[in-house]
């Protein structure tokens, strides 16, 4: 294969945001077509370089063909869309029914999440997996917050052992996800700032462990908690169903805005300064892939 053909295919591959198996199959299919076309042109008397140049020109821009194929594969079915939004619905339901304080319900939710994530991870990381993966990471973040809020010795443990370990786990999963598609990183991170904010508003650390949450405040905030998770569910369905990448990116930016507005309206005054800083960091991480998408 000439350099011209392999450069063209590399270019297509760069713009194809699929898992490696689908990407390989698509590129291989285009490769055999380019080789056939190139061979035909050589039989007509053209030189190798000229034949490769004409063959790639007939395909058009590598970015355009990759985008069109992405639009086919990037749109999830309605079933996939609802399955992707299901963890958001589930959490909204847990809060709406006050079962989020029930250890059995929480354990069942956690076990179901772990099972779904393991299944999806080994089945080629389909698009519906990423919101589930976000909830899978939630205990990692929440444990860190609880450790920080506990007495002094626990804070040191969090600072020295737990936080570096949690950051490593988060970084590894984010890196793996970004290698597939940077937009999925946002999809994965969406539940983290929401859950983080609500935990800070509803009561953290020793208050939380001792169930010393101010119930009056809780009942005021619950509708907002349910609203924010339902909004995420709707936006996730939208993300899954739209074909164009810029629409997906816009949906993710909307998610960040919804989180910020609902948290600020419901109980912004209860979040300490460090809490706002962490939240800002989360929202920055969530918006960056979408912003990169608009720039590219």
């Amino acid at each position: 294969m000439t350099d011209k053909l392999s450069n063209y295919l590399d270019n297509v591959k760069t713009h194809l945001k699929f898992d490696s198996a689908v990407k390989h199959s698509v590129v291989q299919e285009l490769c055999t077509h380019l080789e056939d076309k190139s061979q035909e042109l050589k039989e007509r008397g053209l030189g190798e370089e000229e034949a490769a140049k004409l063959a790639t020109e007939s395909f058009g821009s590598p970015q355009a063909i990759a985008q069109q194929i992405y639009q086919v594969h990037g749109q999830g079915t309605w079933q996939e869309a609802f399955f992707a939004a299901f963890p958001h619905f589930l959490i909204a339901l847990l809060f709406a029914s006050y079962y989020w304080q029930n250890i059995i319900c929480l354990s069942i939710t956690l076990i179901a999440t772990v099972c779904v994530v393991i299944y999806g991870w080994w089945r080629g990381k389909p698009m519906w997996l990423f919101p589930w993966l976000g909830y899978y990471l939630l205990p990692v973040v929440l444990t860190g917050i609880l450790l920080i809020s506990l007495p002094q010795s626990w804070t040191w443990l969090a600072a020295i052992v737990y936080i570096p370990l949690a950051v490593f786990v988060l970084a590894y999963i984010v890196k793996q996800t970004a290698s597939r598609d940077w937009l999925y990183v946002s999809l994965l991170l969406v539940p983290l700032p929401v859950a983080f904010s609500w935990l800070l508003i509803l009561g953290t650390g020793n208050e939380f462990l001792a169930s010393n949450i101010q119930l009056a405040q809780l009942s005021v905030n619950i509708p907002w908690v349910v609203f924010s998770f339902l909004a995420l569910a709707v936006l996730t369905v939208f993300f899954m169903r739209v074909r164009q990448r810029w629409c997906k990116a816009l949906t993710l930016l909307l998610s960040a805005i919804v989180i910020l507005v609902s948290v600020a309206l419901a109980g912004g005054g209860n979040i300490p300064l460090w809490g706002w800083s962490v939240l800002a960091l989360f929202l920055f991480a969530l918006s960056t892939p979408a912003w990169l998408e608009f720039r590219s």
């Binding site: 299919e29 055999t32 395909f59 821009s61 069109q68």
Partner: protein, 111 residues
């Protein structure tokens, strides 16, 4: 020109399904076959063909399968599915009704 493009766009699926229904085939052969059967009228762009094939496959109207040739080269052949067969029958029936209706209004001898 735009009218021709719109007509082709509206009938791409029928043409592809028809060819695949005739015999399992692959992308390059589809372009050649369309060009030969239409005496050069249909010149499909590869950039149009592959997204269309992948869309039909996603809708389960056709099924793609890698096949190894005696030369060692691998090709992705597309096969018709039962769902695709039903969709093609429906499209052909619609096409027949449409062209009959057009002919009853626009009669070639009066043009």
């Amino acid at each position: 020109m735009n009218y021709e493009r719109e007509l082709l766009k509206g009938n791409t699926d029928s043409l592809l399904l028809w060819l695949i229904n005739c015999q399992p085939t692959y992308g390059y052969q589809i372009i050649k076959e369309l060009e030969a059967r239409s005496n050069g009228y249909f010149r499909f762009k590869e950039g149009t063909l592959y997204p269309a094939l992948h869309r039909l496959e996603k809708d389960k109207l056709i099924r793609g399968r890698w096949q190894k040739l005696p030369s060692g080269q691998e090709r992705r052949y597309y096969y018709m599915t039962k769902k695709g067969q039903r969709a093609l029958d429906k499209k052909l029936a619609t096409w027949r009704d449409f062209s009959t209706a057009v002919r009853t209004i626009i009669q070639p001898e009066t043009i």
